[in-house]
């Protein structure tokens, strides 16, 4: 059994308050989350749920905290361990509840030992003054020194303990796995001890770090990657499903991102294509492609030469070698017949030409998709600049036309729609670059064309001077909803075919382990 799945379902039914939810809400059907059919047919047929949508929940820091506490309480009751120790055990086993309970029931001592909760030699730990004590860390032996020891009994002065904890938390960002300062002792510093020893500021940092490990440790939870956002998203889509689904989620902060790779929303292209595409665009390989398509090498000294005039009679700048651009042969052999290069059909010349044509074709194909991809990226940026002016526009429109603030809201909606649509359009081009041609591709391109036309005409309207906008209100609202509709149609179609594995790609789209 895949304990992940099991645990997932355990998560969703404890039903604490949810901050935000995907369009159709409920995670209830996750209880029947089947191992191999993460997105079964039944689920697809649920009314209102599109093929490209995934279920997810947004958690605030408070939610995450209470979620953690709840898990700890639950497991604490089962194991009969105090909640401090339970928290350490859960963190040690990366919050895998089932595995913890199972292994604990089998051999409790060894689980406790490896988690850093070995046999106890001292009762409730408190700070103490001990006569004749010398701290092993700082070698201080002043009478009246406050000391502290974890349950393992290794005692140090409180100052050293504080400095040790401060360094671990502040400098090393460590929380759940801070051990006793004694070399060879793996006893974990529990948060009760920590509370007693450190200043309030460090305590809160410690809590933040603990919460972070909770989210980091679990596959179905991810932090929203938006800067300064403190929310986390829960989504049940697994890594191995990423070649069949593009799990776009939206945080409460409005940031839309892919749960699979945490990059910005890249529907309809699956994560692995996105990775390959970005790498391709980044690589200099395309520059090399350009060179091979537009230049030749001097047959004598191999300098790279770009033809800059019409004449085929080339003279290498470097070695002064004279040759024919057409057949790459010696110019002297051409005599006066250069204009009708009779070596053109020669085998070697033919091969050379083929190689060059092929390279040129692949370059042109790439550039076709890349230019459109880059154009939407650029346009989205421009639209965004425009959006920042939207507020100004809305105000000015409200004042000139006598419309109320609510009535000019359509501008904001239009601007947001433009952003989302451009983002999707951009990725349709990367997606198409990797598609093999067949009937489905034709349908896809038709959808893409309709969608793109709609978006461009909305974008055009959006740029109109403010005084004309009032008259365009109805048109613009229509266009906005039409754009959304076209986007849904395209995404639904691509997602559907991705799920069923209908698309034929010209690269491998299975994600690595």
């Amino acid at each position: 059994m895949d304990s992940d799945d099991e645990f997932m379902s355990g998560l969703s039914d404890d039903g604490f308050e949810q901050a935000h939810d995907s369009d159709d809400g409920s995670m209830a059907d996750d209880e029947e989350f089947d191992e191999d059919a993460g997105f079964s047919q039944d689920k697809d047929l649920k009314p209102g749920k599109k093929a490209y949508e995934v279920d997810f929940k947004v958690f605030s820091p408070k939610d995450i905290q209470s979620h953690q506490d709840k898990q700890i309480d639950e497991v604490s009751a089962i194991l009969g361990q105090p909640s401090e120790a339970t928290a350490i055990l859960l963190r040690h086993l990366r919050w895998n509840k089932e595995r913890l309970i199972e292994t604990y029931m089998e051999r409790p001592e060894s689980v406790l030992e490896t988690a850093g909760l070995g046999p106890e030699s001292v009762q409730t730990p408190t700070t103490k003054v001990i006569k004749g004590f010398t701290c092993e860390i700082c070698c201080e032996d002043t009478p009246g020194l406050e000391t502290y020891a974890l349950k393992c009994g290794h005692r140090y002065c409180v100052d050293c303990y504080r400095q040790y904890l401060a360094q671990k938390i502040k400098d090393e960002g460590e929380a759940a796995r801070i051990q006793c300062p004694t070399s060879g002792c793996n006893r974990i510093v529990d948060s009760k001890s920590l509370d007693m020893l450190v200043a309030a500021e460090l305590k809160s940092r410690y809590q933040v770090l603990l919460t972070r490990t909770y989210v980091d440790d679990k596959d179905n939870l991810k932090w929203c990657p938006a800067p300064n956002c403190e929310y986390a998203i829960e989504c049940g889509v697994k890594k191995r499903e990423l070649n069949r689904i593009v799990p776009t989620v939206a945080c409460a902060c409005e940031h839309r991102f892919c749960f699979g790779c945490t990059l910005h929303d890249h529907q309809p292209a699956p994560c692995s294509l996105v990775k390959q595409w970005l790498k391709k665009c980044e690589d200099d390989s395309e520059t090399a492609n350009w060179i091979s398509a537009n230049t030749k090498e001097c047959p004598k000294c191999s300098s790279t030469i770009e033809k800059n005039g019409g004449c085929n009679h080339m003279t290498c700048r470097k070695c002064k070698h004279e040759f024919c651009w057409m057949c790459m042969g010696l110019w002297s052999e051409h005599g006066t017949s250069w204009y009708n290069c009779n070596r053109f059909e020669e085998r070697s010349g033919l091969d050379g030409r083929d190689a060059q044509a092929k390279s040129r074709q692949s370059l042109e194909r790439y550039l076709h998709y890349y230019n459109r991809y880059a154009n939407h990226e650029q346009s989205a940026k421009l639209d965004k600049d425009l959006a920042s002016k939207t507020n100004v526009k809305m105000k000015s429109l409200a004042s000139t036309s006598g419309m109320s603030w609510i009535e000019v809201e359509f501008l904001k909606t239009a601007s947001q729609t433009l952003q989302t649509c451009r983002q999707t359009l951009k990725w349709t081009y990367a997606f198409a670059y990797y598609l093999q041609r067949n009937n489905l591709t034709e349908i896809f391109e038709d959808n893409q064309k309709d969608f793109e036309m709609a978006v461009e005409s909305l974008s055009e309207m959006f740029e109109k001077p403010t005084q004309e906008l009032a008259a365009l209100k109805v048109d613009m609202m229509d266009k906005t909803s039409y754009c959304n509709k076209r986007r849904v149609i395209l995404l639904d179609d691509t997602a559907q075919n991705l799920k069923t594995g209908e698309w034929k790609f010209n690269v491998d789209i299975t994600m690595g382990p």
Binding site: E136, I137, C138, C139, E140, H154, Y156, D159, C160, Q163, Y164, Q167, E172, Q179, C180, P181, T182, S183, G184, C185
Partner: protein
């Protein structure tokens, strides 16, 4: 805070020196920089040589680990073969270091490493491979380097 502990460790090591090691301070004013002369252990390819090591104690010591480096060139999988001669493994790593660890343990660790290199945690991959696959060749090279660089 660190001063007291460092002074104590230093005087203890002077009183009860580790076998085959001589410790001194290059500058009396700076307790954080130590010089160690270590004899190549018997039975190792370093036998007969004497190696100069530098031990540097950070200001955060003992909360952060000391750094140990070979000033004498040495043919060893765990010591970088450059002018730094640095080592980074076991208790010398920040995440494994504990404030209660002592310098004598660090030095004993270094000596043990001369007797038995840890090829799986190597900084010099080539030497590590040779150590694992062609011990004879490794011993020959290590001996030659000892003769050349670590003469008494």
């Amino acid at each position: 805070m660190a001063q007291k502990r460092i002074a104590k460790e230093y005087s203890e090591l002077q009183k009860k020196p580790l076998e085959g090691m001589k410790i001194s301070l290059p500058s009396e004013a700076d307790m954080h920089q130590w010089q160690i002369l270590i004899d190549g252990p018997k039975g190792s390819p370093y036998e007969g040589g004497v190696f100069t090591l530098h031990l540097s104690l950070p200001t955060e010591y003992p909360f952060k680990p000391p750094t140990l480096s070979f000033k004498t060139k040495i043919y060893h999988p765990n010591v970088t073969n450059d002018d730094k001669g640095s080592m980074c493994l076991g208790m010398l790593r920040a995440d494994e270091w504990k404030p209660s660890s002592k310098i004598d343990a660090v030095l004993s660790f270094a000596k043990a490493l001369l007797l038995e290199p840890q090829a799986d945690d190597a900084v010099e991959g080539g030497i590590a491979r040779e150590y694992k696959e062609n011990k004879k060749e490794f011993v020959k090279n290590a001996k030659a380097w000892t003769k050349q660089y670590a003469k008494r």
